[in-house]
């Protein structure tokens, strides 16, 4: 069975004017099925946002890319902008980071949602505005608010409106870049519930990009942990938490405080490597707590661990990778 979206060996380089090229995404592959929620997790600078901007064909002009992104079997990267345009918004749509700034402040919200419909021939004029109202209802905003301006909306409502806008042309894939980062916990919960119910109701495939592991743990079925432009580990969410096979995954969970967790919360020493020079060996080695000699010289490939579970660590099959078994797991409850 082929997936709805297939990303294969995606590379992105940025070429700054007076500096060495930055290899921001280094051979990322993953697939996404209809109705599935997939998380892309990592620290800032790990290439997660660059990856999804590449899927939308929205990288800046100084970026060059290689690899394939297939939607329904067609490689949308084959012919540059011309080959992406028919798919953008119609098949693959995006909710941008920063709900506050994604809307045009001088245009009514309904108009902004209707605009791409006309452009893509989905609906026009009154029909488009009517559909904009329906979309607002779908995301939990009264249809009459379509005639309001973004500044009349709260942060949570603006984020809902930008989700409605992304859904305007009935895409099958929704990319959400840190959709809840600037929002309060209660509003975050509302937005995450909305994304979950949209994917359940409409069979929408959601690709959630975030640095927040617990958010992914609660929303996504599967996830990929990215480090230094590569996927360090990917698999079902439960496997990643209960059976991590890459030290970075384990340490990232251990660095995240949990409401009822009792184990110590430990930061990961060091910082991610620069991506403007070739990395020999494993990119995570300087921060790893269980490195071996081989990590210095050999670049680890993604190893199959279980069904749909892969990790890029030379020691992925060893017991030691998982570390002390209960990672701050509270047993008292």
């Amino acid at each position: 069975m082929t997936s709805l979206l297939e990303v294969e060996d995606l590379h992105v380089w940025f070429e700054p004017p007076h500096a060495a090229p930055v290899h921001a995404v280094q051979g990322v592959s993953f697939g996404l099925n209809a109705g599935e929620r997939f998380g892309l997790v990592g620290e800032s600078g790990c290439g997660k946002t660059t990856t999804i901007l590449a899927l939308m064909g929205l990288l800046p002009p100084n970026a060059s890319l290689a690899g394939e992104v297939r939607i329904g079997g067609t490689n949308i990267l084959a012919g540059g902008e011309d080959s992406v345009r028919p798919f953008r918004w119609k098949d693959i749509a995006m909710v941008f980071q920063g709900a506050m700034n994604a809307l045009n402040p001088v245009k009514k919200v309904g108009w902004q949602i209707a605009e791409p419909m006309a452009f893509h021939g989905v609906a026009e004029g009154k029909a488009a505005l009517k559909r904009a109202g329906e979309l607002l209802e779908l995301v939990g905003i009264p249809a009459r608010s379509a005639s309001r301006y973004p500044h009349e909306f709260s942060g949570g409502m603006r984020q809902r409106a930008s989700i409605a806008m992304a859904l305007a042309c009935e895409p099958k894939i929704l990319l959400a870049d840190e959709p809840t980062t600037a929002l309060d916990v209660m509003v975050q919960a509302q937005i995450l519930e909305l994304l979950t119910s949209l994917s359940d109701q409409l069979g929408l495939a959601v690709l959630l990009v975030t640095h927040d592991l617990p958010v992914v743990a609660q929303v996504c079925n599967r996830a990929a942990v990215m480090y230094a432009g590569e996927i360090a580990e990917t698999g079902p969410m439960e496997e990643l938490y209960h059976n991590p096979r890459h030290p970075y995954t384990r340490m990232l969970f251990a660095a995240t405080p949990d409401l009822y967790g009792e184990g110590a919360v430990a930061s990961i020493p060091g910082a991610p490597p620069r991506l403007d020079a070739e990395i020999t060996g494993c990119a995570f080695r300087p921060r790893c707590d269980i490195p071996i000699d081989r990590c210095e010289t050999d670049h680890p490939a993604l190893l199959q661990i279980g069904i749909d579970h892969r990790a890029a660590c030379h020691r992925a099959t060893e017991r030691a990778v998982a570390g002390p078994p209960p990672i701050g797991k509270d047993t008292a409850r």
Partner: protein, 370 residues
């Protein structure tokens, strides 16, 4: 520190607003002695009220319509001891930042008292406030914004000493800078002294900002979302640093956060704010494991858990925090409360010990049904 009382029961907020601005007797008697061993808690906030005027439109002013006020902080009381960390938790607009700004003196209190080692600093003139400012230092949210990009680390950390006239010469100040940086976990300090902020990672920048606060030898640190702009992998390190400052250097830390998981892990006590009031407070363990106020319960229920198997049952409140200009009558939370009864629409509940918890725990909630 648990033998001393953690929280002062507040009086009626409205009454506090009435006898505003009148300086407490302590201020009149004792001059500002931050180091005096008075036996009083490090920080004691009593019935603190901070209101901001809303700008009237010209027509409203002409029609002599009454001026309206943003009830940012509306009668809150708490105390913080040396070596204690308290987390102030709540959604944006609940008044937690206003509380901290009032304590710092950046915003003038409308009413109530802020006692620092027993001295009321609310409404103290600037001249008398200045020496006290050394005792209270602030750590801001965003180390990408709070450091001057043209200052080397050395200058950034030196700046507050120049303001407060500490250390005679540059040579005398150098060891103080080094000590503050090392106390903030930047070791060896010499490696960082001549760097610019853009050469540092987010975690290192926040440590420089903390060193800038530490160089004045404060007793109280106010930290406004100190790690929310940092990467997950370094957050724990900065929080552990704050933790060690209170344990080893005996500082009191008041941390604003919206992240209950962080509060649960690092704070001794948690105060939950809603629309300018503390609605529930107590030890961190009590608040997280035995919440009594429906707002606290809802907030806790929506915190995402690390373990995907822990099926969350989020109790999602609809809508958002009401306008602090037009505060609901009765209990402020009643329009969003899932269990509100008639009494909640008319009677404003005071903080008290809930029926289900022991009085000795220091746990209090402002709910008729708790």
């Amino acid at each position: 520190m648990s033998d001393t009382h953690a929280f002062v029961p507040p009086g009626a907020g409205a009454a506090a607003a009435a006898d505003a601005a009148a300086p407490g007797p302590a201020a009149a008697e004792s001059p500002a002695h931050p180091d005096a061993a008075t036996g009083a808690p490090l920080l004691e906030v009593t019935d603190l009220v901070t209101h901001y005027p809303v700008r009237r439109t010209l027509t409203a002013a002409a029609a002599r319509r009454p001026r309206s006020w943003v009830h940012a902080v509306d009668g809150i009381s708490f105390s913080l001891n040396k070596g204690e960390m308290m987390a102030l938790v709540g959604e944006s607009g609940c008044g937690k930042t206003s509380t901290v700004q009032t304590i710092l003196g950046m915003v003038r209190a409308t009413g109530g008292a802020i006692r620092l080692n027993g001295t009321d600093i609310a409404g103290l003139p600037d001249r008398q406030m200045r020496p006290l400012r050394r005792t209270v230092q602030m750590i801001y949210q965003d180390p990408y914004e709070s450091l001057d990009p043209r200052f080397r680390v050395r200058q950034t950390v030196e700046e507050p000493m120049l303001v407060h006239g500490i250390g005679g010469s540059r040579r005398d100040r150098e060891p103080l800078i080094v000590r503050a940086l090392e106390q903030a976990g930047l070791r060896p300090a010499e490696m960082y002294l001549d760097r610019f902020p853009h050469e540092l990672s987010g975690g290192q920048r926040q440590r420089v900002a903390i060193a800038t606060a530490l160089v004045l030898g404060p007793q109280l640190l106010l930290a406004d979302e100190p790690v929310s702009m940092l990467d997950v992998s370094v957050r724990a390190g900065v929080l552990s640093l704050l933790d060690s400052l209170r344990r080893d250097a005996d500082m009191g830390i008041l941390m604003i956060t919206h992240d209950l998981s962080t509060a649960a892990h690092f704070a001794d006590t948690i105060a939950v704010m809603y629309l300018g009031r503390i609605v529930e407070c107590g030890s961190a363990a009590e608040i997280v494991r035995n919440p009594q106020h429906p707002y606290t319960k809802a907030l806790l229920s929506v915190v995402p858990k690390r373990d995907p198997r822990e099926a969350a049952a989020p109790q999602i409140l609809t809508g958002e925090t009401p306008d602090p200009v037009d505060v609901p009558r009765g209990c402020r939370f009643h329009p969003r409360c899932p269990v509100a009864v008639d009494q909640c629409r008319t009677v404003d509940p005071a903080l008290r010990v809930p029926a289900a918890v022991g009085a000795s725990t220091g746990h209090q909630a402002a709910c008729h049904l708790a």
